[in-house]
């Protein structure tokens, strides 16, 4: 099972892919920035401050998506006894953490002109901060423990605890009275965002996904070379 996850075969693809992904990322980001900063309209209430949404929302989405993927992959690693799942999780974490920080900082910058404060201990913001702490614990666990089995167990335990926070982040704006506005984009029902703002948001999300893919590929290749370095030591 999972023969396609053989390191030799994977490295053949992942070692060549980053340069193409980087090129695509620069192209999509350029289009996204033009749309977000120049072409998209201002909001009738928030005026131009709404443009912060084009970096804040995709960052929050991707950080949540990456953490969910890390949890799923870590659990799969245990179920199928495949270490490569852990390697993929480890390589995804740095970009997830950075996107989490970007969401928090850009959220604070957006909060000042719209709410009149940089920070509020409301449910959405606090739960996002907690997610950042889980990311940090996950990354630190890989640095602290040398023993492979131990680090697999501890990092998976951290992700299982952290994943409980993900639905809390998602539904915090519905469950509690918060400063944060409810979701404007719904997959199952009609979105309340106009297409002139939805289009740049989708482009910027695509650019951010490409960036996280680029970092993942580079990090994954680094981890594979690290394994090979250990292999050379044993020769």
């Amino acid at each position: 099972m999972f023969k396609f996850l053989q390191l030799n075969k994977i490295f053949q693809i992942t070692s060549k892919a980053p340069k193409y992904v980087l090129f695509l990322f620069i192209v999509v980001l350029s289009v996204g920035l033009t749309e977000a900063l120049i072409l998209s309209p201002e909001d009738y209430k928030q005026s131009d401050a709404v443009r912060i949404m084009y970096v804040h929302v995709p960052s929050a989405w991707i950080s949540l998506g990456i953490f969910s993927s890390i949890t799923f992959l870590s659990l799969s690693g245990f179920i199928f006894k495949n270490n490569n799942f852990f390697l993929i999780s480890k390589s995804l974490a740095p970009s997830g953490f950075v996107f989490n920080i970007i969401a928090l900082v850009t959220g604070a910058i957006w909060g000042k002109p719209t709410w009149g404060t940089w920070w509020a201990w409301d449910a959405r913001i606090t739960s996002m901060l907690i997610l950042a702490l889980f990311y940090l614990m996950y990354l630190i666990s890989w640095r602290i423990y040398e023993n492979e089995e131990k680090v697999f167990k501890i990092s998976t335990f951290i992700t299982i605890l952290g994943i409980i926070n993900v639905p809390i982040i998602k539904y915090s704006v519905d469950w509690w009275n918060t400063l944060h506005q409810p979701a404007s984009i719904n997959i199952l029902s009609k979105s309340s965002i106009h297409s002139s703002m939805l289009f740049p948001l989708i482009i910027m999300t695509a650019a951010f996904v490409l960036f996280s893919l680029l970092i993942f590929l580079m990090k994954y290749n680094t981890e594979l070379i690290k394994i090979k370095n250990k292999g050379l030591d044993r020769l």
Binding site: F11, D48, I52, V55, T106, I215, K219, K228
Partner: protein, 75 residues
């Protein structure tokens, strides 16, 4: 036109600082990851170079090692 773009009805400072922070974070993460990658690659080349001919042949028989070495020469 450019003044209008930068001023953004008084929100320019907030909007541009949010975008700048995002792009700076991207650049920093990219550079850190790239440096780590190059460091490991150089370590691999140094270790490979220190192998005797028999061990080098054995190491080169693995396709992934060949790929790593090929990428180093390309870079």
């Amino acid at each position: 036109m450019i003044n209008e773009l930068l001023f953004m009805n008084g929100y320019g400072v907030y909007v541009l600082s949010a975008f700048s922070f995002t792009l700076l974070s991207f650049t920093a993460l990219y550079l850190v990851t790239k440096i780590q990658f190059i460091k490991e690659q150089n370590k691999f080349v140094a270790k490979y170079g220190s192998l005797n001919s028999e061990k080098a042949i054995s190491a080169k028989s693995q396709r992934i090692n060949k790929e790593i070495l090929a990428n180093v020469t390309k870079n």
